[in-house]
Symmetry: C2
Subunit: 381 residues, 2 copies
């Protein structure tokens, strides 16, 4: 098998956000579009970016009309702003939503058409403008990934767009931005990181290059997610969670994901739930389903999570990983069922059909049928 | 501290060499310069590259006037060939020598001047033509690194050029190319990989992103270098050594190296010795010197090499790493002293002065003075 691996230039560390302007200049930009959201603006991080642009003598225009689980029409609006202002590069600053919209804007301004034309793998034909992405959530990994996930507002489903062109030129990860997140968002995005790490590790497309990052991300989440949720001031825990997010992002960008994300995308297209919350509920159920396909890998995961597996068979040790994830999710107050977040039973069949066709389902380690997906949704309800 | 990490797009796997032509096309090339050496041509790998170019309908010119520890005038000659043939991209295929010359040619054709003007860190101002590098030795890591090391033929010293511009666009690693290496070259380049992994791991510029790759490379070398030397036909061992070389390359490209490489560069500028052989002799001596600076890291290395460290102090465990490296070097028949390779005692003072000023010395974990370098050379003599 031929393994391929791509990643952007990465700048990681406290106050690295101040390097965003200079990074744009290095890429030849003169007039950038800054894509962000309301929360990031209120936290003051958009100001830091604007100041950095000013001191680099860059012109800029801001666009922030973005919602959680961002929509196709938001990207189209952003593309209009880019064109009207004759921008030549794009900064995305925020969590997965802002960054995924920034990428979708980039697709539209050089490739034209509507965003749904680019759903799936390798549908982007023309090069994108320079992309500089700054992550503020330690969750999505989108700042380093080949992915953009955008809601098709007519079909009410998430479209997964996968292309090497979507790997940004420069990714900036400043762990200081995590200090303004509330504990629920920290828990939700942290469990998203764990889901990225676990799904990429058991993915049928995992390689020696992605596995080292998946493994290390699992280890870091198991050590630092609880303390990171417990205190906004724990800088060490935030920094390690930012690193976990980055490494899990590098892993899944190249190894792709699995059934949790395929199912979660179908839910996110319909309900305004936090992506990390949905993943958190689905993860242990899907792990149980997938255990049959990769017992040794689940055994590794148990060990990376800090479980004692001495004296256990590989299969029994693998089960420990599932129990560990359930307990972690309880400890940090994550939702425990989809129904408590408002998911209705009657929609499960429709969601299952969508999930089965999501690009992330292709790399799930166990063969999966529509009835399996339905059963998993019922278990998680 | 702000951590930066860059790497090329990587294509790894059996027969990936056949993708070189298509890779050039993706980068917009029409007429490439192929830089290679005599050994690679005799092994038939240059033919594979030429066929791949032909089937991608690329024009090409070959340049192969390259020696071990390649010289500045070889790069200048290559640059003339590039310009005369109006090339627009460069393929380097071979070990560190061919790839480092390919990079030096790239510097000259867009930046002009002589190669010595670019010695040191970040001296390259203008963008380079598209670079596609295919490694055939599982040693240098140059196919993914920010480094090019070229001999200044007048001063008889190696110049270390470090710049993000030198990271190729695409790195191709085809483990099948390792099957044509003789056992001495396999041993020499394998110990170079180990040196990259260990020096990058204890480097003062190591980060969480580089450490995962250093650690994994050490583990792979300890498991697969012996069997890879033992049999040309052991494909599994070759593949793991190719992966070790790649991961060690990614680590040192971003964490830089240390005293072994600084000293080895000074030797390589003067004598036609294999770079890996010189490193192999110097490595345990420098590890002993550096143990004081990073005992925990040397303890980790011992564990990664498979040593039992239970019941030992961190410092005692660290010493086990040094013993392990000595034994490995003996087992695979590597040279055990610099004098047996022809190094003369009278030149040590001069070499030490050069080594102290090599860019790789900056990241050595222990402060080092000229008399320390001299003493280390005497120990290794």
């Amino acid at each position: 098998m031929i393994n391929k691996f791509v990643m952007p230039e990465v700048i990681f560390g406290h106050n690295s956000l101040h390097q965003v302007g200079e990074s744009c200049i290095r890429l030849g930009a003169k007039n950038v579009l800054i894509v962000t959201d309301q929360g990031v603006m209120e936290a003051g991080w958009a100001d830091v970016v604007e100041k950095s642009c000013k001191s680099a003598e860059l012109s800029y225009t801001s666009f922030n009309e973005i919602t959680t689980n961002p929509k196709d029409y938001e990207a189209e609006l952003g593309a209009n702003v880019y064109v009207e202002n004759e921008c030549d590069a794009i900064i995305g600053i925020g969590g997965g939503s802002a960054i995924d919209v920034a990428k979708a804007v980039a697709i539209l301004v050089t490739n034209g058409g509507t965003i749904s034309e680019y759903e799936g793998v390798d549908q982007i034909k023309k090069p994108l403008p320079p992309l500089i992405m700054a992550a503020t959530t330690a969750g999505s990994g989108s700042e380093v990934s080949q992915f953009s996930v955008i809601v098709d507002s007519k079909k009410k489903k998430k479209m997964t767009i996968i292309s090497k062109s979507l790997v940004p030129d420069i990714a900036i990860i400043d762990p200081l931005t995590l200090s303004t997140k509330h504990d629920h968002l920290t828990a939700s995005t942290g469990l998203d990181v764990l889901t990225h790490a676990i799904e990429s590790y058991v993915s049928v497309a995992a390689t020696a290059l992605t596995e080292v990052y998946s493994r290390n991300a699992i280890r870091l989440v198991s050590q630092y997610l609880r303390p990171s949720v417990a205190s906004k001031l724990n800088k060490e825990a935030k920094e390690h969670m930012a690193m976990a997010s980055l490494q899990a992002g590098l892993a899944f960008s190249n190894a792709i994901l699995g059934a949790v994300h395929a199912m979660s995308h179908s839910v996110g297209g319909r309900y305004p739930m936090l992506h990390g919350d949905v993943n958190a509920v689905l993860l242990p159920h899907v792990m149980e389903f997938n255990l049959l396909a990769a017992p040794q890998k689940f055994c590794d995961i148990a060990e990376l999570l800090g479980e004692h597996i001495g004296g256990l068979s590989v299969y029994e040790a693998g089960k420990k990983a599932i129990e560990h994830v359930k307990q972690l999710s309880l400890d940090i107050g994550a939702p425990q069922s989809l129904s408590e977040m408002g998911l209705e039973e009657k929609i499960i069949r429709e969601l299952s059909c969508l999930a089965l066709n999501d690009a992330c389902m292709i790399t799930n380690p166990r063969d999966i049928k529509e009835e399996d997906v339905e059963r998993l949704f019922h278990q998680a309800l």
